[in-house]
């Protein structure tokens, strides 16, 4: 490819294409006049006005002009680069012009649309915008896209239902997986659970998945093992794992955090004593061992959750409470089962149906408010029944406190090691609350299950499988190819002040202790330009937006 980086003595040959966009631009400003003006700009050797530059005919004109006029820069004045830059720059590349020698000027969204009805002013503004674009384009440099290798192996941290599901799905796709579990056995929190809301025994559901994971030759499971060190970047991580048989060093392309959460032990909450007043998890174990012996059971929801100290709703405790209340009622129909709650969080189809069914089985639900919470003392639960306006007293052989899942103590440590963020509650923080629930902002690292936020076993499994496709979308490619618009730090000018380090949201800049300068990892850099804006010695620059290019653009304004 002819990259056309200019020698100092060679003048650029710029082609300008002015788009009418039907009437979107031409309807509100004088396109022929703008095109005439463009001819007068320095280094402009060719100008063409098109009805639609993005149409096949328009693209053909650009290609033809590059070849025939020997253009070394192309400027298109049309719509938004968000939608059309890829089309135009790749069209340039098709006829041998480096795509980074293309510049786009938005005379529609930023001109004709916002200045409808002021035709002369809009025409003038379009001219100035094009003048700026042409000035910048003269200083553009040919750049090459950044390529990096990919190791087709994944580290999954955590062997609960989420991690197992991720490993299983990735293994099924033919990728190599290393599954690291801190405890001695796979299965996570579900190992302590009696029966799932689907009616399946948790142990059976788990053993099916565990057997499958263990049988896949491309999945390596390390139990009683921890990840002690990670380094590198997407496609090429180096990890160290402390296993029972010693330190293992591995190289992986992506990492998955599936470390789960732990149930809160409700010490000091609502008379918890671990015998008559127990937690939801303790009840699961009583049911698992068939050791339940109570005629009157009271569940209290939101025990230790949705309080000023712990504001969040733990999402799954209402469902677990109702599930267990029904199990008790089914097995011992004469047991009096009551549930005291604030809001029954039985979202969706199946859970709401459970609530209808539970009521049908004779389980009684009473609402309480946080400003007047129930009290538990000497086998009695007292609460203010809002609907009747009376304080009620219930005898209870067993009080079950529905406690929330809380983040692991060591999740902060793991977050630091992986350089990923956690939220105000200590759960791992995804890249985007709505649109990227399974990604971290850092490329190549993903999150699933209750480590992100409490999830039911079905939800954790869904997320685990979901992570597999996020990983596959990266690792099934030949190599990692990314835009050349990244930062560079001039090693001769950098004084190693590290001002850029905290500005980089992608952890792409590191300090080189030997050379005493900062360095950019081009694979991690997303080209935001924060470092370039911060650098006091002007040694950090963003390619494609270098000071001389931007100053030329500003100077032309």
């Amino acid at each position: 490819m002819n990259t056309h980086t200019l020698t100092p003595y060679e003048a650029p040959r710029i082609g300008v294409f002015v788009c009418d966009c039907g009437s979107n631009i031409a309807g509100h400003l004088d396109c022929p006049d703008v095109a005439e003006y463009a001819k007068t700009l320095p280094h402009v050797v060719y100008v063409k006005e098109n009805l639609y530059t993005c149409s096949e005919a328009g693209i053909g004109e650009i290609k033809k002009a590059i070849t025939e006029q020997n253009l070394t820069r192309v400027v298109v004045a049309s719509c938004s680069p968000r939608t059309h830059q890829p089309l135009f720059s790749s069209s340039c590349a098709e006829v041998g012009l480096n795509p980074y020698l293309f510049e786009m000027v938005n005379i529609r969204d930023q001109c004709s649309w916002v200045h409808m009805g002021t035709r002369d002013a809009a025409t003038q503004k379009a001219k100035e915008l094009i003048c700026m674009g042409v000035a910048k384009s003269a200083g553009l440099e040919a750049l090459n896209e950044i390529e990096s290798s990919l190791i087709r192996k994944i580290l999954v941290i955590g062997g609960g239902i989420a991690g197992l599901s991720a490993a299983q799905a990735l293994g099924d796709m033919g990728l190599d997986v290393i599954l690291v579990e801190k405890t001695a056995s796979l299965g996570g929190l579900l190992q302590q659970v009696h029966q799932l809301d689907s009616g399946v025994m948790a142990k059976e559901a788990l053993s099916q998945i565990i057997d499958d994971v263990r049988s896949q030759s491309n999945i390596t499971c390390y139990t009683s093992a921890t990840v002690t060190e990670t380094g590198g970047y997407i496609g090429n991580y180096d990890v160290k794992i402390e296993t029972q048989t010693g330190l293992v060093e591995e190289q992986v392309g992506c990492m998955v955090v599936a470390t789960g959460a732990v149930p809160l032990i409700p010490e000091g909450i609502l008379g918890y004593d671990g015998r008559q007043v127990i937690s939801l998890m303790q009840l699961e174990q009583l049911l698992q061992r068939d050791k339940l012996d109570a005629k009157r059971v009271v569940f209290i929801q939101c025990a230790g959750a949705r309080t000023p100290e712990r504001e969040y709703c733990s999402r799954i405790c209402c469902m677990i409470g109702v599930k267990n209340a029904m199990l008790i009622k089914d097995k011992y129909p004469l047991t009096d089962v009551r549930v005291l709650y604030r809001d029954m969080q039985m979202y969706g189809t199946h859970k709401e149906q459970m609530l209808w069914d539970a009521r049908g089985k004779g389980i009684r639900f009473d609402v309480y408010t946080p400003d007047n919470p129930p009290e538990v003392e000497n086998g009695k639960v007292t609460f203010f029944q809002a609907v009747t306006g009376k304080t009620q007293e219930l005898d209870a052989d067993l009080v079950v406190l529905s406690t929330p899942l809380v983040p692991r103590n060591d999740s902060g440590k793991l977050a630091n090691m992986l350089r990923v963020p956690t939220d105000q509650n200590g759960f791992f923080l995804e890249a985007h609350a709505k649109l990227r629930p399974l990604d971290f902002a850092a490329d190549g690292i993903f999150v699933c299950g209750s480590g992100r936020y409490p999830a039911t076993s079905t939800e954790a499994r869904t997320q685990g499988i979901g992570v597999a496709s996020r990983v596959a979308a990266i690792l099934f490619k030949e190599k990692l190819v990314k835009s050349a618009i990244v930062a560079q730090i001039n090693p001769d000018a950098c004084v190693g002040c590290m001002a850029c380090l905290p500005m980089c949201p992608y952890e792409a800049i590191t300090y080189n202790r030997d050379k005493r300068i900062c360095e950019v990892n081009e694979v991690l850099c997303k080209g935001c330009g924060n470092c370039a804006a911060t650098c006091p010695s002007h040694s950090a620059m963003l390619r494609g937006f270098k000071p001389q290019q931007l100053l030329a653009q500003i100077g032309a304004a």
Binding site: G22, R315, A433, P437
Partner: protein, 453 residues
Amino acid sequence: MLDVGRHPNIKLLAYSELERLEGDAGNFTATIRRKARYVDEDKCTGCGACAQVCPTPVLDLYNEGHAERKAIYSWFAQGIPSTHAIDPDHCRVLNGKKCGICQKKCEAGAIDFDQTDVIIDLPVAAVVVATGYDVFDPSRMPEYRYNQLDNVITAMEFERFLSASGPTAGHIYRPSDRKVTATIAELEKKVKKSQKALDRFEKTHGKKSDEFYAAYTDGSLKPGEDLEKDQDKWAKRVEAHLENANPLAVLKEKAKGFTTAKKIAFIQCVGSRDLRFYPFCSGYCCMHSIKEAIIAHEHDNDTHTVIFGMDIRAVGKGFEEYKIRGGNNSNISYKRSRVAEITRNPDECPVLIYEDTREQKIQRQAFDLVVLATACGPVKGAQKIADTLGIDLDRFGFFKTDPSNPLDTSRDGIYVCGCAHSPMDIPESVAQASSAAARAAQTVIKKNDQKAS
């Protein structure tokens, strides 16, 4: 959307429907009907010049019927692909009338009135069902009088009102007030026209119409010669003018008192958690209402909102915190109640009748605007889709899955995600979509492995 539209591996067949699916996982043949757009996809640049000149207005359902679009249109401005389509129910040409203005206007030559549906067969390894949901029609609940009361709207309608590009440009005008404003505009047009006629008489006779008419009616008119032959005509014109001008004056006086809605009520579980309709919970509506109330307050700091619900289900990450923030910063109060009935007071304000369960009292409270948080139900054609695909529906009418393989339908190689699976909010949908993609990829990979061996 843009990413999908631009992705080299994604072939986007918008405005198309699956007709048939044959074969097995790894080797399906999907028969797809590409419906006629009457616009050539390869030529159309989405510039929208056609819609500007199209003379046929059609109720804009994207804006929940609160605005108009044209018979040639794109569903909404940011839609992908931006290719326009002609609505065959309303286009004049397609209904045998004279027109074709869009064809003349289109400089890309993309309009093709002779286009027909095209049936294509595609070999596919796996299928993902992401057909979404339909919103419950609140007119099925007589007690909320959705059809009778202008100022009782759905959460989707309110969403459009809040949108800066929506029918009210983001201002929360009450629909009853908008109706009056529209009538005023209509009457003003008529009055302007009739005034012109009166102006001619006034000029000829050098007399104001009201003076003339007063004299004409009380018999004190002393017509000169030329007025003699004009007086009956003029009087008739005055009467016709007043027929519109009088109500216009009344409405204008009324409209002086119009402000945007300040007191807003949200009613949760409209059609859901209700054995008459959907027994299940729609999952996202509590948060949707809170979000709308917060945005309304951001737009206008004087709004006060009450959200009436049985439980406020703020069950996602950060949701409970958001709910509390709404209460603290956005004048939202949450009331545990299922509203029994909505009536109306004389100034068009809906009045809610409900039991305040904390006070054990029946209350009546008037609001400027009531928003119904309507349920998320299965899509209307769910059974037909299920039949075409050969998969089962669950007891609620959504596509049935197995909790241990939460994306798998009852047929191998077909996966489901999002609200087609069950009601859920955005992050859950996105996570499920990734999972369905993974399951589909597994099927594709398995097929490729078989081929290779």
